[in-house]
């Protein structure tokens, strides 16, 4: 046990702080909702130049070219969070497409796409889920039929965030209709301006259209724009989904939320009594504090395992299930303690924190469902984590 970072890292932390002190004022005020604003792009370039984002991506592809160092990444994150500065552009192109190309793309693909993606010039969306293929992603039906050197794509995607603003899509399509379901899928990249693509906003229970549906009608895409070969799409996607699942349920975010609720319970009153003085709400707060702390320390444990290149086993598999649930419960406590104020929404008077507790309560439920429902997570934990048997295949009816 050693929770200190050591002198080399203390020095690095000092450098990061220097950067923040000198450049913090350049951080974007307007991030751009779907596409990064010019300010955001300038900030991103500055961060890359100083090795504060895209840190380990080779210089040849527009990154900073440092050796991977999880602690340095963590220090950067800690300092930016402490200074309340944005970390740079976070989008699915950067978090999912770039790592995929780095691992599996051709040299030409890497050269062409990574740099403009990192710099925020090219915005991507993800075409994985379909209305009929949620938990069972491998059953996807969007067809890509060969036609000379091209594929002709027909079908529909859903849960495609930023599709309305994206330049490009990385997309799973069925290219081998006769192969087994996991082996007939390819991972294609193509422009969203390709004729035949229609994007419709998808409104959710929060009242906002955080996602889109994307319809493909005879969309023509060159066969060469496949990543990692025909029929490899399922394996490519799983590599990237792993990244996404790791992102959900960040325990430090939960720590921030817990602090916000504790503050709120000190400020708000009912019949003149502070909410923190209501023993039943307070007890719930304390229960959640224990769970949040446990997941924060759990995060340290996973970080240590990464540093040592050890497999943390079941400890990794439970993160999404626990993290999303705790966040949902935190929002529930805030709503409950706020009484009727807790149900206000939209642009109502008396709204607290812009209605974000209700928004989080609903959106976190979406996260419990999305990216592998809680039921799928439990299947994975029991099978991969505990070695329990898969369900038997059903007999043909």
């Amino acid at each position: 046990m050693d929770l200190a970072y050591g002198p080399e890292y203390d020095a690095f932390r000092a450098e990061v702080r220097d950067f923040i002190r000198e450049n913090g004022n350049k951080a974007p005020k307007r991030f751009g909702v779907s596409r990064p604003s010019e300010e955001s792009i300038a900030w991103q370039r500055l961060l890359i130049a100083h090795g504060l984002t895209a840190r380990t991506i080779p210089k040849a592809y527009g990154g900073y070219g440092a050796e991977p160092d999880i602690l340095k990444s963590r220090i950067i994150a800690e300092e930016f969070t402490a200074a309340k500065l944005p970390m740079g552009i976070a989008n699915q192109g950067i978090s999912m497409l770039v790592p995929t190309l780095l691992e599996l793309g051709t040299e030409e693909q890497k050269k062409k796409w990574i740099e403009p993606t990192l710099k925020g010039e090219v915005v991507w969306c993800q075409g994985y889920s379909e209305p009929g293929s949620g938990s069972d992603l491998a059953s996807l039906q969007t067809k890509a039929t060969e036609d000379g050197d091209d594929f002709i794509i027909n079908g529909q995607k859903i849960w495609t965030s930023t599709a309305h603003a994206a330049d490009m899509i990385f997309c799973l399509v069925r290219t081998e209709p006769d192969a087994k379901k996991h082996e007939g899928i390819s991972y294609l990249i193509f422009p969203m301006t390709t004729p035949g693509i229609e994007v419709r906003p998808l409104k959710t229970m929060t009242g906002h259209a955080e996602f889109n549906e994307v319809f493909f009608t005879d969309v023509r895409v060159p066969q060469k724009d496949i990543v990692a070969g025909r029929g490899q799409g399922w394996f490519v996607a799983n590599a990237t989904l792993k990244h996404e699942r790791g992102m959900l349920g960040d325990p430090n975010q939960a720590g921030t939320r817990l602090k916000e609720i504790a503050d709120l319970m000190h400020e708000e009153t009912v019949d003149g009594v502070r909410l923190i003085d209501h023993p039943v709400y307070r007890d719930r707060l304390m229960q959640l504090q224990a769970r949040v702390l446990a997941m924060q320390f759990h995060g340290l444990r996973l970080l240590t395992a990464s540093l040592k290149k050890e497999d943390p086993g079941i400890a990794r598999l439970i993160v999404k299930l626990q993290g999303c649930e705790i966040n949902h419960q935190l929002a529930a406590l805030a709503i409950d303690a706020l009484g009727e104020i807790g149900v206000l929404y939209g642009d109502s008077p008396h709204l607290r924190a812009h209605g974000s507790w209700q928004h989080r309560y609903m959106f976190d439920l979406g996260l419990i469902i999305g990216g592998g429902t809680a039921q799928i997570q439990k299947n994975i934990i029991s099978e991969r984590g505990l070695g329990m048997p898969r369900e038997p295949k059903p007999a043909k009816a």
């Binding site: 889920s129 009929g132 293929s133 949620g134 938990s135 069972d136 059953s139 859903i158 849960w159 998808l202 409104k203 959710t204 229970m205 009242g207 708000e268 009153t269 009912v270 019949d271 003149g272 209501h278 039943v280 709400y281 529930a332 709503i335 409950d336 706020l338 009484g339 009727e340 104020i341 807790g342 149900v343 206000l344 929404y345 939209g346 642009d347 109502s348 008077p349 008396h350 209700q358 609903m362 439920l365 979406g366 419990i368 469902i369 999305g370 429902t373 809680a374 039921q375 439990k378 059903p394």
Partner: protein
């Protein structure tokens, strides 16, 4: 000995169900929500034809003098169809207040109009029922009200509003009274009307013919039972929708309703919610026939449906997977209706505390 619905009650509920299925389908709810209608005229008209506004008005004032259990059956259906129409305040709580503590003149002025649906009534008693937030309170002096009351029910377009004052006394205020400002409060649930009322020397009549404190207690009890019934109806609709969706949606080559995890989620919802029906019935019946038990049972009905409702709303959404999270299937209207029910007129935590106090188990 019969703990159940009479044939008349079953018929009543079926006729409300039939009407609401027709006038309050999801598409209509959606339009109303989009337009900000919380008391849609067409639906209110259909409800008036059913006579629901006169249910709790005494026969002497042109109503039907029915029981709170009857009203609870209607509330259950309104929850089931997430109906954007006033009911709990105008048809139940206000008539109970006016019939209970109004003078003969007050009763005769308002109750017949409320019964016919010609006049709508709101209720501003949140501070008494759930505790004051932001130190809201209404004080009366020389026949004038000052202060503010938050979370008034169905008050926005009301012709008359029952207002609880700081000392637990009740007042009657006209909807268009001078000095009264109504500010719409938007909640997650766009099917029901909430407002803030601001009083600046607003003329009011006292409702003081009976025991006002006891009447306020009755109004709160009745309101809680209505909200409990609303959640019961909305919750069962969510379960039915979850079961239906799970019976159609296929993943991994099977309908998801054949997966044990999904089946058990549905079984748990049903087994948590169904006992609430008996508690709601009993609480309503106690209000009608066993007044000494009424407040305790209303509190427990409200508290239990609040907690079970949350579980059902969340679980039914999960069964729907991503679809439950979208606006497409509209499941969220039920989710939010249950969410609002939970917070109004006393949270589960508060009503449980009250229930303890009533039994001498807490100070």
């Amino acid at each position: 000995m019969e703990f159940g619905l009479s044939e008349d009650q079953k018929l009543l509920q079926e006729s409300v169900r039939g009407t609401l299925e027709r006038v309050s389908p999801l598409e209509r709810v959606r339009t109303a929500a989009d337009k900000g209608e919380t008391d849609a005229a067409d639906i209110a008209h259909a409800l008036a034809e059913l006579g629901v506004y006169g249910m709790m008005v005494p026969e002497a004032q042109g109503g039907m003098g029915m029981t709170l259990l009857d009203a609870a059956l209607v509330a259950e259906m309104l929850g089931r169809y997430v109906t954007p129409a006033g009911f709990a305040a105008t048809a139940v709580m206000a008539p109970i207040a006016i019939a209970g503590a109004g003078s003969k003149a007050q009763r005769e002025t308002w109750l017949p109009k409320i019964a016919s649906g010609e006049a709508k009534a709101g209720v501003a008693i949140a501070e008494a029922a759930s505790g004051a937030r932001e130190d809201a309170s209404v004080t009366a002096s020389g026949g004038k009200l000052n202060g503010k009351s938050l979370f008034a029910l169905e008050a926005e377009a009301a012709d008359v509003i029952v207002v609880a004052g700081k000392a637990g006394e009740l007042h009657l205020v006209k909807g268009d009274a001078k000095g009264l400002t109504k500010v719409r409060l938007t909640s997650i649930d766009l099917t029901r009307g909430l407002s803030e009322l601001q009083f600046d020397n607003v003329e009011a009549e006292a409702l003081s013919s009976g025991d006002a404190a006891a009447t306020l207690r009755r109004v709160v009890d009745a309101g809680r039972v209505m909200l409990a019934a609303d959640t019961l109806g909305a919750g069962w609709m969510m379960i039915e929708k979850a079961v239906a969706y799970a019976g159609e949606r296929k993943q991994f080559g099977r309908v998801i309703g054949s997966f044990q995890a999904v089946k058990h989620m549905c079984a748990e919802m049903a087994s948590e919610l169904e006992p609430c029906r008996s508690l709601v019935w009993y609480a309503a019946h106690a209000f009608d026939a066993m007044p000494e038990e009424a407040s305790l049972m209303a509190a427990h009905a409200k508290g239990m449906t609040g907690d079970v409702g949350r579980f059902v709303a969340r679980t039914a959404t999960e069964v729907h997977g991503g679809m439950g999270f979208t606006d497409l299937v509209g499941l969220h209207y039920w989710f939010k209706r249950i969410g609002l029910d939970r917070q109004l007129l006393g949270s589960p935590e508060r009503v449980r505390h009250e229930a303890a106090v009533m039994q001498g188990w807490a100070a």
